[in-house]
Symmetry: C2
Amino acid sequence: MVDANLHPFDAALTLTPAGTSSFIGRTHPAYQNMVGPYGGLSAAQALQAVLKHPALLGQPVALTVNFAAAIADGEFRVEVNPVRTNRSTQHWSVVFTQPDASGTDSTVLTATVMTAVRRGTWSAADLAMPEVPRPSELPRSPFDGRPTWFQRYDMRFCTGNLPEQWTGAAHESLTQLWVRDDPARALDITGLAAMCDVFYPRVWLRRATPTPAGTVTLTSYFHVGSAELAAANGGYVFAQARGVRYFNGYFDQSAHVWSEAGQLLASSHQLVYFKE
Amino acid sequence: MVDANLHPFDAALTLTPAGTSSFIGRTHPAYQNMVGPYGGLSAAQALQAVLKHPALLGQPVALTVNFAAAIADGEFRVEVNPVRTNRSTQHWSVVFTQPDASGTDSTVLTATVMTAVRRGTWSAADLAMPEVPRPSELPRSPFDGRPTWFQRYDMRFCTGNLPEQWTGAAHESLTQLWVRDDPARALDITGLAAMCDVFYPRVWLRRATPTPAGTVTLTSYFHVGSAELAAANGGYVFAQARGVRYFNGYFDQSAHVWSEAGQLLASSHQLVYFKE
């Protein structure tokens, strides 16, 4: 049973235990993309399975999600296993399965997660947050015609919103925006993991041409503990993404997410399929 | 049996079939690091297991390797499975195991690989290769005291070689170098995968301080097919890496590798453990 008062993101993250190291998860109507769920939600669900496992050691430092097939609306099975536990680190394997057309369980998503007990060390950032207008100085982006999951985020673009006209002209692939859950939600590691995938495909911006495109694999590194996440509570995060190389059907993008106060919270990279 | 005339990299990549979807691999004395094997070799071995699997579809487009524990010198078992095969893409799981102190098989490395049949599309690069001296204009870096695997690469640094003095002074974390196998070897996808890890830890350069450090997870995206790799044959590649965020025991770096002719061949990111 899902509590109707839950934030939709927390409702979407709800996993029902189904035996040792297994859960039943579900897609959620509030986070649907054009086809299937918003990839950021699937990434957060994979991470959530690790966080809910009784053997968890430490906090997430790295997450890789492979989108192996479209996830059909409804339930999926989550298998989550600690494959190696060391003194202060742990490596995890996560697999989502759904019955295929013939009724056989088929893998639709795989993920690996690394968790660690962090210790205080010298810390620094080589990538500074760009100077941009504050969120209050920018209009909220309208949703017109965008997939449902867009409505679950208050997005305020500094640059690189969707092209207003699909002219086919070459364009820089940089997007910069402020983003916050809608309704507002205290930032935590699953929320951050989801926001790492908040960008529409770079190739649409780069070419001002809408072509079929979808993330095939995503890797995020988290530079933050629960204390730093608590400090970012309620604020916007600043998210930036840029395309790197487009080659014969796939391109990669690199993204970074900062707290409103300018602390780099996550680095996130993905490879995206595109057509033509 | 390993042919004594094989290039040491090909000798190190040799996998002996050991049942369905299993191989026996071995560390190789020519590619040893300070503790255990060079991570780039382990990454290449994981990729090689996929390339040697009879069910392979297409060519590698993405590789994530999680270094779960130190790999002891000698043999390890490789389990490799296609977890999802679509019309033109395939997702793979790879696991290396070795007996632990009690003799129980224990996971030392996990990897996920995505392969795809590429189709010709619009292609471009948003990241240009920097203007740097040609390899012939630069001296080869000496090996003095570095781990064995360094000797398997002809490295010519443009900037960011190991600090000559460990002064503890803050320094930019950028390294740029030309690199080629030694002995020379035709570039292929496994060679490229290994070269993505050719950088010593950024934190050593950033702080001019040698502290214990080691890669815990690495993700590479390949922007190249076998035809483009063949065109790069025999030449150097240009490799660049920069640190991003250093926080409580872990930092990430982003690296890119170009052909000598200036084509971006790979993007590669990693999270690295460091002490203090």
